[in-house]
């Protein structure tokens, strides 16, 4: 095989680049991840959710969530029609008092929906990764915090397990880990999103009802979606700066 000097000069850098990419392989840490370039949140498209529980199972697998505790769970709402007596008197307000079930967090599906009146729908829930979170404000030891890229995390070596944050969360998204005896919660799969992957729940969602969004990324479809859809957050009156956006959320959801 005859290779000229010119060919060698072209081939060598090409081989070096190729070898570099071989060495890189699967990125273990995240050297190219810059915290200040991201502001994470999630979009939940209620009309797409089929209540299969894939997200709950995936989260449990990915994050070793103990049985009976949930970092994400799915609720099924049933908002009945306005119940009236024969004289036309309204007896209850389904907007204030809807029927909500979540058997084992919706992990193994839901019982049959039998009532023909009203409407049924699924509401997946998880940490809202609030920008002004009550849970981080009450921590007496600085064990929970919002990271510079907008993810509310718990430092397991600092947490005392006082459960103050569990009480402070308006969305009920925290629990005390039964073995570690420290506060545990959704990390928005921080170990995944910093490597360029999506969260386990989004990866496992078969209908695309969940989407990880980066509010600092101008190319993220969330910006167009927020402009063109009726998107809400839970408990906006609490001014938590929640970043879990719900599309087409029913007024009865709390």
């Amino acid at each position: 095989m005859n290779i000229s000097r010119r060919q060698i000069l072209i081939l060598l850098p090409a081989a070096a680049v190729a070898w570099k990419s071989v060495l890189a392989g699967t990125p273990e840490a995240s050297p190219n991840y810059n915290m200040s370039d991201h502001w994470w949140g999630m979009l939940i498209d209620i009309p797409k959710c089929i209540g299969c529980g894939n997200c709950v199972r995936a989260c449990q697998t990915e994050n070793d969530v103990p049985d009976g505790h949930f970092r994400t769970w799915v609720e099924r709402y049933h908002r009945s029609d306005w119940p009236m007596t024969e004289s036309g008197e309204v007896t209850a307000n389904p907007l204030i008092d809807p029927e909500v079930i979540s058997p084992d967090g919706g992990k193994e599906g839901f019982p049959a929906a039998t009532d023909e009146n009203g409407k049924y729908f699924f509401v997946p829930k998880m940490c809202n990764h609030c920008a002004d979170s009550p849970c981080t404000q009450v921590c007496p030891v600085g064990a929970t915090f919002i990271s510079p890229d907008g993810v509310v995390l718990v430092d397991p070596t600092y947490c005392l397990g006082c459960a103050y944050c569990v009480q402070a969360c308006p969305y009920g998204c925290r629990y005390i880990h039964p073995e570690k005896q420290i506060a545990d919660k959704c990390t928005l799969c921080y170990h995944r999103i910093t490597k360029g992957l999506t969260t386990a729940c989004c990866e496992a969602c078969p209908t695309g009802a969940r989407q990880l969004v980066d509010l600092k990324d101008p190319k993220d479809p969330i910006h167009e979606f927020l402009k063109t859809h009726s998107v809400q957050v839970l408990k906006p009156q609490m001014a938590t700066g929640a970043k879990l956006f719900y599309n087409d959320l029913d007024g009865s959801v709390r």
């Binding site: 991840y33 990271s147 170990h191 910093t194 990866e203 496992a204 078969p206 695309g208």
Partner: protein, 157 residues
């Protein structure tokens, strides 16, 4: 200096105070982690520790690097946007060492029913059946190919 004539106890107290403050600074230096306060009132290194947890779901991009044949079939069918691990489960270990960990083929009678069992609570446009009436206990894969489930899609795998 008659002003300080009887002030010795004050100097002793001030000295003790300064000493205690120095002890506090020394103890604080050793007790508080270096990265505490790096980004805010918390240990900055905790972010990196949480980010270094191992992943369990490899992600569909990883699957597709080897299983591009399945991707070709899937991308033409109704399940184009259903990620591999939504049905096959978390398989990062398989992706790391394909020969050591072999994925188990899911049982379609259980798997398909999770999503496609009819319920009034599901969105109206979503394809749903009552499995007992629909197939009489036969596995879904008898007629449908899970990667491209439409009946007329042909011999897709």
């Amino acid at each position: 200096m008659s002003v300080f004539k009887d002030a010795k106890h004050l100097f002793v107290f001030a000295g003790l105070f300064v000493l205690a403050f120095l002890v506090f600074l020394v103890v604080r230096h050793y007790v508080v982690p270096k990265s505490f306060g790096e980004y805010g009132h918390y240990r900055g290194a905790a972010i990196g520790e949480i980010a270094s947890h191992p992943i369990k779901f490899a992600g569909h991009q990883t699957c597709e690097t080897c299983h591009s044949d399945v991707l070709d079939v899937k991308s033409k069918g109704k399940h184009a946007n259903v990620n591999c691990e939504a049905c096959h489960g978390a398989l990062a270990k398989h992706a790391d060492d394909p020969s050591a960990v072999t994925p188990v083929l899911p049982d379609t009678t259980v798997l398909c029913a999770r999503c496609h069992t009819a319920s009034a609570a599901k969105p109206k446009g979503f394809p749903q059946v009552a499995p007992a009436d629909h197939s009489g206990g036969l596995a879904c894969s008898t007629c449908h190919k899970p990667h491209s489930p439409a009946m007329d899609a042909g011999g897709a795998k």
